[in-house]
């Protein structure tokens, strides 16, 4: 090759590159379609529904909720608190400590914490009057009957509430207990002596 001869590339004026049109190959569309399909499947299985409460290793909100400690009484206690804050708190106070000359305490009261709820169910159903000993202290007051205002469920809820609040740790009260006590249809306010004749359970 003669070194003096200019190369072809310099001589010929190169054309500007131009973007042309050409069809997208069908296989590329298919591949992207499959990738999109797979990505949606992956998200459906692993994204936890984009819920902010779902973290690894839980795949869905339901499983997170199931892994949390279950408290079946929480709803009943909440309902019981509603009843308590409508009625009972006026005398027994929100703290459950009661007040001299108004109402005896519920905190640590042996009547509240008795293993069965029979006697306390009678108190809220039929009221209470006359002398009664609570935590070694004598009281002589009158509590109204609430059996006409609330149904068995609500009374069981409020009893469950006061037995679990303020450091009280007694089991929940079943509505059946209140129902059985209501079925006795006692004619007048309870007194301490009559309550003590009742079975604890």
């Amino acid at each position: 090759m003669n070194p003096d001869e200019p190369t072809k590339a310099v001589n010929q004026k190169e054309a500007e590159p131009v973007a042309g049109r050409s069809t997208v190959p069908i296989w590329l569309i298919v591949v992207f379609g499959l990738l999109f399909y797979w990505s949606q499947l992956f998200l459906a299985e692993n994204a936890g529904g984009f819920n902010k409460d779902v973290y690894r290793p839980y795949p869905s909100f339901e499983e997170v909720a199931a892994a949390n400690p279950q408290d079946p009484e929480a709803k009943r206690r909440a309902e019981g608190r509603r009843v308590f804050m409508t009625t009972c708190y006026a005398c027994h106070l929100e703290t459950g400590l009661g007040k001299e000359g108004t109402a005896p305490p519920l905190v640590g009261s042996e009547w509240v914490l008795a293993p069965g709820g029979n006697r306390i169910a009678h108190i809220v159903l039929y009221g209470l009057t006359g002398p009664i000993n609570v935590k070694g202290q004598d009281w002589n007051l009158t509590m109204l009957a609430w059996g006409g205002n609330y149904n068995d469920e609500q009374l069981a809820d409020v009893l469950t509430y006061i037995r679990s609040q303020w450091g009280n740790k007694a089991g929940p009260i079943d509505p059946q207990v209140v129902k059985a006590a209501r079925a006795e249809a006692r004619p007048r306010y309870e007194t301490s002596d009559e309550l003590l004749k009742l079975p604890v359970q």
């Binding site: 973007a19 984009f50 409460d53 997170v64 949390n68 408290d71």
Partner: protein, 235 residues
């Protein structure tokens, strides 16, 4: 052929997609994150979590940031199936977005040249932090962490010795009549590190189910630091 508008639309769509995914989506998902209550375990009471940092810890976060601690230390406990953090006792549960509500900025870090600090406040005390800053090898033998001695001041013992002077072994001890005391930066940094506690189980990371038997759980043994330098295996 004028492809300008088409190019603009394509670029705009690309940017809009990433903005939606990285900014708008997380904002919609976690933007309303606030304090919550911890899950009740047993007889314990539910607590408000997380709590705002005290002022000195807030200042310490700036020291942490300024000195590049996040270059070697992370503040993120990985979930059980993505690493050994929980087995190392670096936390009782994985880290959640909730843990960083008050962190500004969030210094997650990306490299673990040093141990994870997400729960450092749970496993050390002020003195331990001072000793690690002054001479990292004192507590963790063979540590590659650089000493941060400019956080400390060597000064003449005055009328009374300073109550928070470092108690150092012989090779690091100051000359007679002198004492080494932490400067305000060290105090702030220690307050920040002590405030790093991802405590309490939250709804998103509930407590592990209680073991059915009374067997001791495998992660019951607390290890407060890395094990000391490996002993040579006798041949």
């Amino acid at each position: 052929m004028n492809s300008g508008p088409l190019l603009f639309l394509g670029l705009f769509a690309t940017m809009a997609c990433s903005w939606t995914g990285f900014v708008l989506g997380p904002q919609l998902q976690l933007g309303s994150l606030a304090q919550t209550n911890t899950v009740v375990v047993g007889d314990a009471l539910s607590q408000t979590y997380p709590l705002a940092q005290p002022g000195e810890a807030h200042a310490g976060a700036e020291i942490y940031r300024a000195n590049g601690c996040a270059a070697c230390h992370t503040e993120m406990v990985r979930p059980l199936d993505l690493g050994s953090d929980l087995q190392r006792n670096w936390g009782v549960r994985r880290s959640l977005a909730e843990d960083y509500v008050f962190a500004q900025p969030v210094m997650l870090g990306s490299q673990r040249i040093g141990p994870d600090l997400a729960n450092f406040g749970r496993r050390t005390d002020t003195n331990g932090i001072y000793l690690r800053l002054y001479d990292p090898g004192l507590i963790t033998r063979g540590s590659v962490m650089p000493p941060y001695r400019f956080f400390f001041e060597t000064r003449k013992i005055g009328f009374f010795p300073s109550p928070d002077a470092l108690v150092l072994p012989d090779q690091d001890a100051p000359p007679a009549g002198f004492e080494i005391v932490p400067r305000p930066q060290a105090r702030a940094l220690a307050a920040y590190l002590l405030s790093l506690r991802q405590e309490g189980y939250l709804f998103e990371a509930p407590p592990p189910p209680l073991p059915k038997t009374n067997a001791v759980p495998t992660n019951a043994v607390a290890t407060n630091a890395f094990p000391a330098a490996a002993k040579p295996v006798p041949k």
